[in-house]
Symmetry: C2
Subunit: 125 residues, 2 copies
Amino acid sequence: MRIGELARRVGVSTRALRYYEQRGLIRSRRSANGYREYDESDVRIVTEIRELMSVGFTLEDARPFVDCLRSGHPSGGSCPESVAVYRRKLAEIDREIRDLLARRSEVAAQFADACPGCLLRRGES
Amino acid sequence: MRIGELARRVGVSTRALRYYEQRGLIRSRRSANGYREYDESDVRIVTEIRELMSVGFTLEDARPFVDCLRSGHPSGGSCPESVAVYRRKLAEIDREIRDLLARRSEVAAQFADACPGCLLRRGES
DNA sequence: CTTGACCTTGTCACCGGCGTCAAGCTTTAC
DNA sequence: GTAAAGCTTGACGCCGGTGACAAGGTCAAG
């Protein structure tokens, strides 16, 4: 299939697909006229990329998953490199949550300091 | 005082101060040679900006606080506009925390799905 | 007079993931 | 035959908050 069909099937722009190719995440054969040609395995790969991105992974994060799929694994997340990324992302998210909680209380403290009573009226902690 | 001294006193780069001026957050008189001139009130304003930024406010978020200080209030956070920003930021942070928690469980679920047993060994929830 | 510290404006670069246009080719449908 | 749709590469723009550099003007000390 050509780029437009792949884009439609996965629900992504052709621009994004060309970008993924430029970053080396997907590949394409070229037909005689220069058009990119894809097959079913590319649908799988791009779907995996989008799933990962939908939960906050970057394209680089997705790379090991793509490699894992290409090497024949039925799941992109079962290779050691992918597992390492999973663990790293979980740790990252945990850190971000901790940072946000800390920031929240700092903001609430500044708020309470600058405007005593403002928070209480809303029942904030 | 000139820009270098203000920068040193608040602990911010001169580049940042010029940027704040360009964005209309601080102002400066110019001495005969074209140098920017500041006074104590500017120290207060820039300090307020940095405090807000340190807890994740953008420059635009800081604008009402600066206006509040300029209008003579002893605290930048006591004006209605500032209070609105505080509330908005708290709501924003709360939303981000919720999103992160949701993402965390999605990642954990994908992980568990792709690599059964990987998470359990770490005692993750 | 010169050095060096300080000031000026202006510009490019960064990071991620594209959107969007430009200018031109191919293919398909009528 | 032609218009529309689809494809190609290339390049700029965005967002925020600077860092870093260029190419100069200014001022005090030696």
